[in-house]
Amino acid sequence: MHLVIIGNGITGVTCALTARRLQPAARITLVADESPHHISRPALMYVYLGHLRPQDIKPYDDWFWAENRLELVHATATTFDAQARTVTLSTGAALSYDKLLLATGSRSRSGQWPGRELAGVQGFVTLPDLEQMTRDTHSIGQAVVVGGGLIGIELAEMLAAKGVGVTMLIRDAHYWGSVLPPEEAALVQRQLAAHHIAVRYGTELAALLPDTQGRVRAVQTTTGEELPAQWVGLAIGVEPNTELAQTAGLEVARGILVDEQLKTSAPHVYAAGDCAQHRQPAPGEVAVEQLWYTGRQQGETVAYTLCGQPRPYRRGVWFNSAKFFDLEYQTYGRVPARPDPAEHSFCWQHPNGRHLLRLNFRRDTLAVTGLNVLGLRHRHEAWHAWLQAGTPAPQVLAELGAANFDPEFFRQYEADIVAAFNRQFPQHPVALRRRKGLFGR
């Protein structure tokens, strides 16, 4: 079998690795134009910050690919013929395949503002984006970041570390309003304030204003304010790369439409990761998933199907993580930004504003449904088990030490958390039974 994968991001690479394991004899080719080797996109910011060099964000050393017989083609796949089963490359060469995976990922949403095309205005998702930003942010004094999500705050951190004055324009009334409840967002705002990031909430971009050289000079906001900025980052989300699929005549909506086995409308062609749109997402799940983790999971699932062991994509218990400046965030299960009437939402915060734990659980069965932690590290396995089993919240709290993943000697807050819970829910009294010990795990 010759498996051709378009895209060497986490989805394409996970599929390639899984397929290699399942079919040691298969021929596997990865075609990508962004970079010759797989890179970790979430790590791009650390190259800019100077924590890492460009070669340090390759998850695998260069020898890895040849030793595992994964062929790398550094070129753009311009189109493919699903009947003839060939992919045409920008080099003019053609690749024939038995199975084709489209893992083309996503790119920054660009928006339609006047002045969008000015120099110094860009998104930040890919390696070329990093190169552009690196070129364009030398000796600038002020920058504006549009968008209050994960990439927006990354950009703010990157620029602020270089001594650039940053203003963020955030549409919602608080940070990451579509995902975080207000208490969590308030802790993130403390980080923004501590790092001297100016934020305009409830404010959007109206226009980008040029200087005489065609570079951005300032932005105008929807509140009528004009902010000087020699560089503007647009972090208003990402959209699937669907050109290749469209050129080849596949069914495409926002993303490349796939069924639950990640099959597209064309035979022997699959799509996974950021670029795929699920025709029938499971209840409560979104049709287009654009995360590192979901990309990895979809890449693994599709590899099984490609290797003749078809299985539907099931996301399982949700998890995610991020870091907002110095504040770490982990989430397990589902914690909606606005309370669900069927659930209790218990939220504990340390008075110092650097630690928070939110536990959601069902009003009827008390089963835990989701956890947010800020400034605390929690054990994925423990929460996976509790959420999957629907363990009642009081039982989880009594055992909370089992989920503590903070390093040794860190202050343990389980007793404070349980005490707060007992005050808020005296009808469900909890006695803390398990603390984190030096010899446990």
Partner: protein
Amino acid sequence: MTTAPVSPVSVPEKLLLAVVGLGLLLLLPVAFDGDAARAQQCFFAALGLLSAGTLGWSWWKFGRGPTGVHHNNLWLRGSTGRGALAWLTAVVLTGFYVVLYWFSNDNGQGNFGPLNQLIHALDPVSQALRRRPADQWFLYGTFYTLAVLLMGGRALWKYRHSPYQRIRTASVMFFQLGFAFLLPGLLLAFQRPEYYFSYFWPLKYDYLFPGTVSYLLKDGGPALGVFMVFWGAVMSFVATPVLTYFFGKRWYCSWVCGCGGLAETAGDPYRHLSDKSRAAWRWEVRLIYPILGFIVLVTALLWLGSAGVLPGWFTTPQQSGLPLVGGLSPVDGLSKVYGFFIGSIFSGVIGVGFYPLMGSRVWCRFGCPMAAYLGLLQKHFSRFRISTNGGQCISCGNCSNVCEMGIDVKQYAQRGEPIVRASCVGCGLCSTACPRGVLNLENGPREGRMQSSQLISADSLRILG
């Protein structure tokens, strides 16, 4: 690819760094000033400037503002990114070691060569502590301890958000000051053998050589000498396996050891320079275990020789005409070769001199027989592991970057595998630097220690060769 912009250095930071530079420059006239009294004043002024500048700069850079890991510009600045300043630092450090080891012996009239003035400037300190004049090793010990304390202050500020790093840094500072500087000095003051209670065989290889043992028993006095020998043997053969079983080799390498103490403090700005490649790992294994074998062999031969069970040739001086070992018996010659190449060149000149180019743990990683011994125990007879947190790794590489031992930590984290590596010294920086809370140093039960996470599908591909 274009280089990212580097944040400007603020005026106060420049001033504080200038104070450090002035302190270093002032050491030069000390070395060459003919007036001993003036040289001494100059020397203490230099140390004062160095100390004030280093602590002031550390506070300015790390002690104010929000807490967290801020390795900004680390690879972009020449001083920490193998630039011109790093090369200069390496040449100066290496040069200092060469002069110290081979050109600073007392000529019999109290003259120590190029370092003479620096050494004699320390006489009052040495007299106060040890009731004898300073020598080149006292100068070295003073500089070494000062480096651990001052740069320890920097580490305390830099990692002040992490209790693990705070306590660990305080521990290496305590052991260096107390056990490797004050206590050996006091022992000398009381006419006892200068004994370092924080160094053990096979790192301090001669502590279990028959010559040292008989000397300690004789000169240490009936109680203290026996205690010293007993302490050395118990630490090497009982405490080391037991503590390593519970905590991993970190109890020594990054909490107690002086070499580790210097690496964790003065070497912290260079920790990311360690080579993470597979080739480097192969060199590590090729070097460190043979060196352990070498010192075990030398120790065994010395004891067998002193017990008289070796054929006479082994213990009879030979006029071989070879450099370094001419006139020595084969057993003594081996011991001398070990001391010269491993004890001096490797641990000192290369081990510290190359900090700014190869990272702070070159000796610990490629050369130290104690690390090899601890590593074997850690890998096969210990509860210690670094756990990875389910599927949360994003392969960003920050963990590998900060690993001073050159472990490519992310190879484990991205596969959900616990990190059980002989070389890991448990400094905890991978855990501290991880932006997603993936890594944690744990001493859990041995059962399931190597168990991978079920929440990420560990590819079974050969990654580490």
